[in-house]
């Protein structure tokens, strides 16, 4: 039970151990622990951020979907409008074309009729002239009666 030199040796050993622990044992262990704590904290923060990002992305996606639907509706509507317009235009154009063709036909018919009329008139006048010639062959001078014939021709 007596106090002796062991006390001194033991105190020295104690001091050396504490010093060694402070210099070489504590810092690496503590830095490893702190580093890991930092990494875990970072990981948790990242997970939180990712969850938030996901939420945002979901919202964005639904927004875009809504937009896309609206745009599609718009496009369909304008296409329908355009279709009606094209049909109307085509109708109008076709009507105009038909009217033109009809008018042209009528004009051609008119011209033909006029021409035929003229031709007939010439032929009738020639016939009438020939008939009159035949009738008046002996007595009537052609030159003297030509004004009468011209009057007849004009009357046909």
């Amino acid at each position: 039970m007596n106090i002796n030199a062991t006390l001194i040796g033991q105190t020295l050993a104690f001091i050396i151990f504490v010093w060694f622990c402070m210099k070489f044992v504590w810092p690496p262990l503590m830095s490893a622990i702190e580093e890991r704590q930092k990494r875990i904290a970072d990981g948790l923060a990242n997970a939180d951020r990712a969850a938030k990002d996901l939420e945002l992305a979901r919202e964005k996606a639904s927004d875009q979907l809504k937009d896309a639907k609206a745009t599609a509706n718009e496009i369909i509507e304008s296409a329908n409008k355009r279709k009606a317009q094209i049909i109307d235009e085509a109708k109008a154009e076709a009507d105009a074309e038909r009217a033109k063709i009809i008018a042209q036909g009528q004009a051609e018919i008119e011209a033909e009729r006029n021409r035929v009329k003229e031709e007939l008139r010439q032929q009738v006048s020639a016939l009438a002239l020939a008939g009159a010639e035949k009738i008046l062959e002996r007595s009537i001078d052609e030159a003297a009666q030509s004004d009468i014939i011209a009057k007849l021709v004009a009357e046909i």
């Binding site: 106090i3 062991t6 033991q10 151990f17 070489f24 504590w26 262990l29 503590m30």
Partner: protein, 270 residues
């Protein structure tokens, strides 16, 4: 009951178990060394430092292994104990607390080894039936006092460092009665308070472990009586062992905690 081969009386047996392997021809003088205490305390200290150092060197910040987990758990536990009690900034206190806790625990743990094993082995190695060998360093008053002495030096060092010499002297003389005439009374009171810190630290640890060792020795004595008492001894030893696990851990924790408390008191400026 003992490996001496000769029949020992119970008194001799106990006496034998409670005697240190001391150096020198004059075992009662101051300049003798308790070789067994020094051997085990230094050996266990080196084991502790080597183990923690090797874990610290290989410490990964990723997924730690089981040993690293265990070491980190201890470090975390000590660190949080220090942070709860000590609010200043001091790089020494946490490693000091870790050293005290683990080292004291390991030295206490030597009490778990059956009382005759290591002494018998030492007698076998030395070839001397009378070889003295005590394996629990903390049951040596020198060891506990040297730990307390180290803490005491730090208490005084930090008291003077933080408060200055005059502050330290004022703390010793102007409390609790702040009157000039009461200075001697104050000094006596405060000095006793100061001195009581290391003495209580050392004696608490020593007393617990010495008593624990003594009870193990007494239980070991029962094996030599007869079969019935020997059988009873087995149960008693097991019971005391299980209870003692609590005691050695608690004593290591108390020593560490009180060290932290005393040092944080030394840092407080009134």
């Amino acid at each position: 009951m003992s490996a001496t081969g000769e029949a020992l009386t119970p008194q001799e047996y106990i006496q034998h178990h409670l005697t240190f392997w001391a150096s020198g021809s004059e075992p009662s003088g101051f300049w003798t060394w308790h070789i067994d205490s020094l051997l085990f305390s230094v050996g266990l200290g080196v084991l502790f430092l080597w183990l923690f150092r090797s874990v610290g060197k290989k410490a990964t910040t990723g997924v730690p292994g089981k040993l690293q987990c265990f070491v980190e758990m201890l470090v975390e536990f000590v660190d949080s104990s220090v942070k709860e009690t000590f609010h200043g900034r001091n790089k020494l206190i946490a490693p000091l607390a870790l050293t005290i806790f683990v080292w004291v625990f390991m030295m206490n743990f030597m009490d778990m080894v059956p009382v005759d094993w290591l002494p018998s082995l030492a007698q076998l190695v030395a070839g001397d039936h009378n070889q003295k060998f005590r394996v629990v360093p903390t049951a040596d008053l020198n060891v506990t006092f040297s730990l307390a002495l180290g803490v005491f030096i730090l208490i005084i060092y930090y008291s003077i460092k933080v408060k200055g010499l005059s502050g330290f002297v004022k703390e010793l003389t102007l409390q609790p009665f702040n009157v000039k005439a009461m200075i001697p009374v104050n000094f006596v009171l405060e000095f006793v308070t100061l001195i009581a810190k290391p003495i209580s630290l050392a004696l608490r640890l020593f007393g617990n472990l010495y008593a624990g060792e003594l009870i193990f020795i007494l239980i070991a004595l029962m094996y030599g009586a007869n079969l019935a008492i020997g059988t009873l001894g087995v149960g008693l030893q097991l019971g005391w062992l299980i209870f003692h696990i609590l005691v050695i851990t608690l004593q290591a924790f108390i020593f560490m905690m009180l060290t932290i408390v005393y040092l944080s008191m030394a840092h407080e400026d009134h």
